[in-house]
Each structure stands twice: as C-alpha cells, then as structure tokens.
C-alpha cells in the first residue's frame, strides 16, 4: 500500500496520525488523540467509515479483530478477523505421542483446560476401545473437574463482561471467586491452568489428601458469594439496560450458524450434550438445563449464572459418590507405569518405582522406557467425541493410522463456531453494543484459533 504522510504527524505503527492509502485515509488511534481524529474525519466527505477494532483491543477478549463499517453510531457491516492466536496445536499433536497430546490440548481454550483434555481423551479412549474400562473414580473426578472448570469459565465471562461495560467491581468479584476455583484445581492437579491432568485411560494422579474437604468448602463459599452476583449483576438496572435486547439471535439463527451452549439455550432450546448425548455418566446426575427465551445478551448471562448453580449441584453429587479405587485403566500397555510422588521440589518421581525398575526388574525398566518414549499404539480408525463445554459443543475428531502418534486431530471449538454469530448479532446495532454482543458470545481466542 502506498503511504503518503499528511499533516505534521509522522505515520507508522504504534503512533497516532493519519495516512493516505489506496483504500482511503487511515487514522491510527492510540487514545488521547480523539480531538485530532474527530477534526480530521470531519474534513472528509466520506460517510463510510471502517473501524478496525483490535486485535489488541482490551474489550475484544484477547486478540480478536473486529472490522466494523459504521454510519454514524450504527454498525452497518461487522466482520471478525481471527487467527492472531493460531499456534498450530493440531499440527503439533501429530508429532507427539498420544499421551503428550493432553499437554497441547489443555492450552487451546485456556479457560476450560480440563474440558479440552477430557474430550481429547474420550476420543482416544474410543479409538482404543477402552471407554468402558475407565475406572469409575476417574470418571467421577473428570465430571467434578469439568464442572469446576465450567464455573471458573463462567466467572471469567461475568467478570470480563462486567469490565467491558465499565463495572470493575464485578471483575473483582468474578476473579476473586475464580481464584477459589483455581486454588482447588491447583490442589488437585498441581497447576492453576494447563493441567494435563486428564490422560487417555484415566487421570494422571489420584486426589491429594484433603481435596474433598477443600472442594466442599469451596462449594459452600461460592454458594454464599453467588448471592452477590444476583444483586450486583443480574438485578442491576444498568446491566439490564445495556444487555436486554442486545446481541439478538433467535433459535433459527443459532441452528443455522451452529451456535451451541448458552447462546442456544438463551434462545429457548434446552440442548445440552450432558442430557441429550450423555458422556462420563452425566445421565446419572441430577441437574437442570436452564433456558430463557430472550435470545439476547442478558438471557445468556442468566443462563450462565444458573449453570454455575447447577454445576455446584453436580460437584456435590460427585463428592458423594467418590469411592476409593484406581484412577487409570488396568491395562499396563496404556497406563503410565508409576504414580508421581511428592518430592522436596514439589512433584517428583516415585522413589519406590525407581527402586523397582533400576534395582529388581529389567523388564519393568524396558516397559517404562518404551511406554514413556515410544508411547502406545492406537488401532487405525477415526472417532468423534463431544462434550458440553462452558461455551458449547466441543468436539474432537481424532484419526489414528495405527501408530504411536495421532494421525490427525481436529477440534470443533465452540468459540470458533460461535464467533460467526458476531455479524448477525451486531449489524444494525450501535457501536457500543458490539462490545456487549461479543462479550455475550464469550469467545476465547486460544480455543478459536488453536
């Protein structure tokens, strides 16, 4: 593009100013220079203005770029530019073992790492044909952790959604409570995020001592805190004024655009894979699928807040039905040879296991070495596993060619699919409502771009 400086401002990246391009005048806005921009825009006779929001805009949930064509305050055309957080996770998976895959997928949608891990492991287990052999304790813990993750994801949605409307108190509340979720996840998995805790065949480790009590304590505390959201967010006239009727997408639009999760349930359809296509034994838990029929941003907020309550119910049921037992399949060709032990530097190898493989059993050493470096083989074929993530249907299409590495893994991430609704929700509305609409989709670019 030709760049001809105009005025006294030196044009360039990161500095404010105007420059002429083949596409028309480009104004770079960095904040604090609005007077200048407004006066120069006033000079032009072009009514059509394209506003480029992001990819580094604080209200676009990470690196989402919104391309808005505006006439006055009205958005006439809205498009989303994505791909700024593409990290090639799907390609990278093809060069690691099946077990190492969890380390990658946990980093996709970083607000729901356990859900990513679980759906990947479910697909691998289906390929291996060991779905029924996963121990009950592992399945119950998966459900517990997924629901914890649902809560933490929804809390970030409330917190960030509030921030984007200028309500910083909500952000403080949301992140305070999310921190409690992450504390529990840290206690159980060892990490606040990117856990790699769910593995093909079960879990990496059993619960540490005291975890059950801490989860119960968490449930109690969060129940108490949730009342605050009812007053501060749901019952707040300002939130209602900003969100009601905004980001409208009805049921037909949702289905056509493939929107799932709270967006679909806010359009009145009680579609939840936990009920309609149960996995991990969800059919045995007692919980409701909340719906509203307002089709707007406020409805999505209501659905998510109610889902937090329902997730707490599921967590309590998980705790009640936790029985002692293994957390990994019995098949030694798949299960990791040793549980980790707590060393002086945090997690470490099990000294007992090292004593065994180094001192007494050469076969065990060979087996350990082969399983860890080479990994297990998965019979050829393809499988699709789907779970109801906090954001909608998260699907994993996994193909094996019979080797020790995935042949192809594709994730149908709900953030990716749901973001397509942005145009339908925003066009014809006000610029300020774009923020509300995008926040109500709750996109996470790590999952969207993978």
């Amino acid at each position: 593009m030709s760049t001809a400086p105009s005025g006294h401002e030196a044009p360039g990246h990161g500095t404010a100013g105007t420059r002429e391009t083949t596409e028309g005048t480009v104004y770079t806005v960095t904040g604090g220079d609005w007077d200048e921009v407004v006066s120069s825009v006033r000079r032009t006779d072009d009514e059509r203005i394209v506003v480029n929001m992001g990819p580094q805009h604080p209200s676009t949930h990470g690196v989402l770029r919104l391309i808005l064509e505006i006439g006055g305050e009205t958005v006439t055309d809205a498009r989303a530019g994505i791909g700024y957080l593409h990290t090639g996770i799907e390609k990278n998976l093809e060069y690691r073992t099946w077990t190492q895959g969890t380390t990658f997928v946990t980093r996709m949608d970083y607000l729901m790492p356990i859900v990513n891990e679980t759906v990947y492991c479910m697909a691998v287990e289906r390929l291996l044909g060991i779905t029924d052999q996963v121990p009950d304790r592992a399945t119950v813990l998966r459900v517990l952790l997924m629901e914890l993750n649902r809560i933490s994801s929804h809390l970030v949605y409330v917190a960030m959604g509030g921030t984007e409307l200028g309500a910083t108190t909500v952000a403080v509340f949301g992140f305070r409570d999310r921190e409690m979720c992450l504390d529990v996840l840290e206690l159980i998995t060892g990490l606040r995020m990117n856990h790699a805790y769910v593995r093909p065949g079960g879990l990496a480790q059993d619960l540490p001592p005291g975890a059950v009590d801490q989860v119960r304590e968490f449930v109690k505390k969060l129940r108490k805190n949730l009342v605050e959201y009812d007053k501060l967010v749901v019952g707040n006239p300002l939130f209602k004024a900003r969100m009601q009727g905004i980001g409208y997408l009805d049921l037909a639009g949702c289905l056509a655009l493939g929107a799932t999760g709270p967006i679909l349930r806010a359009a009145g359809l009680p579609h939840d894979l936990r009920k309609s296509d149960p996995y991990c034994g969800y059919e045995t838990y007692d919980f409701e699928v909340p719906t509203v029929d307002t089709c707007d941003a406020f409805g999505r907020l209501l659905v998510r807040m109610e889902e937090i309550h329902q997730s707490l119910r599921i967590i309590e049921q998980c705790l009640d039905r936790l029985e002692p037992g293994p957390v990994m399949v019995a098949d030694r060709k798949i299960a990791w040879p040793a549980q980790l032990a707590l060393g002086p530097d945090g997690l470490g190898n099990s000294l007992d296991h090292i004593k065994k493989i180094m001192g007494t059993s050469m076969e065990a050493l060979i087996h350990h070495f082969k399983l860890v470096t080479e990994g297990f083989r998965v019979p050829p074929g393809q499988a699709y596993a789907a779970v109801e993530s906090p954001k909608g249907e998260l699907g994993a299409h996994v193909v094996s060619d019979g080797g020790t590495r995935p042949y192809r893994v594709h994730f149908r991430d709900p953030s990716f699919t749901n973001l397509q609704c942005m145009a339908a929700m925003c066009e014809g509305g006000q610029v300020a409502d774009v923020i509300v609409a995008v926040a109500s989709i709750d996109p996470v670019m790590g999952g969207c771009d993978r």
Binding site: G83, G129, I130, D277, P380, G395, D401, L419
Partner: protein, 242 residues
C-alpha cells in the same frame, strides 16, 4: 479388548481399506540401513465397508439406529430420483460411529436431504475437518463432516474424498451456514477448494501464506534445543515409531 465392550473389533489385517504402506522404522529415510529395520513393511488399513445390519451406537449386530438412518437416507434420495449407490460410495460402521462416504458431486443434495427430511433432521453441522492421506492415491484429501440431529439425538459422519490434483468439492454453506468459517479453515490448512463458498479466503494463516500447513508433506519446523549438553532435535526430526 475391544470385543468385550461390544464394539466392532478392528481388523488387524486382511480386512479394511489400505490407505498407505509404510516401510522402515524410526523415521530414518537417509543413510545406509545397518539395522535391518528398513525392510519392515506395514500396511495401514482403515476400517472398511460395513455390511448390514449396521446396528447402533452401542454396537450389537441387530437392526439398529444406524440402519434406520441409512434406510431413511437411501429412501429419501431415491424419492429425488437419485440412485443411493451413486451418492453413497461406502458406509463404514466403526467404534459405534456411522460414516457415509459421499461422492462429492452429490454432497450438497445429501446434506440438504439429511437436514430437511423429517425422519432424518440433522439440523446441526459441527463443521468440516480435513484429513490428508498422501498414500491413498486418487483420494488424498478427505473432508469429514459431523452432523447432529437434535430432534432424534443422533450423530453421523459424512466423508468426502477428493484427489490432490483436483481438490474441488462443493460448499455446503447454503445448507449449513455454520460451515462458512470451517470451510475456510479446511481450505487454509489443506487446500481443499469449496466451490460456491461466499468468500473462500485464509482464516488462520496470514493472507499471503504459501502452502497448506496441515498437509502431511508440509514440515512442522522447529529448531534443535540444547539441554545439559545434549542436543534434542526438533519435534519433526525426532525418532518416530510409525
């Protein structure tokens, strides 16, 4: 292991569709083979065509949900004057999942039928996933669609294969607008060209990117890392057992 669960067992050899023949071991392609492993030959077979009855998602050999879906689809296509065997190249039932291999010229018609027929009603398409089988000559690129019926609570898979030399297939955006971005993604990563797509441009990679990164012949890249004096090769240069 698999039979105990009532799943269809995966044939170890003989049956199935050959998609590739691999030789050697450890991924070593250059240099003299002093190990003898270079003479290893492994035939990669994907699950082959299923015979009736297809059963259902919980397995079993009796008439089940999958047969219902197949019957309804075949019946609906016949009503439209289309011979089902022309549209459905192959039906695979594996691991409790039903896959229709569809001829690309009939893909849109099949999708529309699957969506609109009251007995089928697959309202939700969960996108398209590309798979590259460079060893499967004439059918190198596959596009895999998963369709979900909320009405009937079913899930099926459609698979379309196209040759690398002519990677065109029709876009299903008209039937499932949700596939707009998914098809762009499959184009971006695999070079599958979806004819009739409203704006088939790259979506993840930069607009001026060369090549299609998720094809098998596209290198992963990476640099060797030195750790405590040892040199660890880049991930795609490491020993591979497949």
């Amino acid at each position: 292991m698999t039979e105990q669960n009532g799943h269809v067992p995966v044939p170890r050899d003989g049956a199935g569709e050959v998609i590739d023949v691999r030789t050697g071991m450890f991924g070593a392609q250059d240099g003299q083979d002093t190990s003898g492993y270079g003479r290893l030959v492994r035939t990669v077979r994907m699950p082959g065509e299923a015979v009736r009855p297809y059963g259902g998602p919980r397995g079993g050999g009796a008439y089940g949900v999958f047969d219902e879906v197949a019957d309804e689809l075949e019946g609906a296509l016949e009503e439209q004057g289309l011979l089902p065997s022309n549209a459905i190249e192959k039906t695979v039932v594996d691991r409790g999942e039903l896959t229709f291999h569809i001829a690309r010229e009939h893909l849109v018609r099949v999708c529309r039928t699957l969506r609109d027929d009251p007995a089928l009603r697959f309202e939700l398409c969960t996108g398209v996933s590309g798979v590259h089988y460079p060893g499967d000559k004439g059918r190198e690129l596959h596009a895999v669609y998963h369709l979900r019926s909320l009405t009937h609570g079913r899930l099926i898979r459609l698979e379309v294969s196209v040759p690398d030399a002519d990677p065109h297939l029709p876009s299903v955006c008209d039937v499932y607008p949700t596939n707009n971005w998914h098809e762009r993604e499959a184009y971006d990563f695999f070079g599958l060209v979806f004819d009739g797509h409203p704006a088939l441009t790259r979506i993840m990679m930069p607009d001026d990117w060369q090549g299609f990164p998720q094809r098998k012949d596209y290198p992963l890249g990476g640099i060797p890392v030195e750790y405590k004096g040892a040199r660890i090769p880049a991930p795609d240069q490491r020993r591979s057992y497949t």
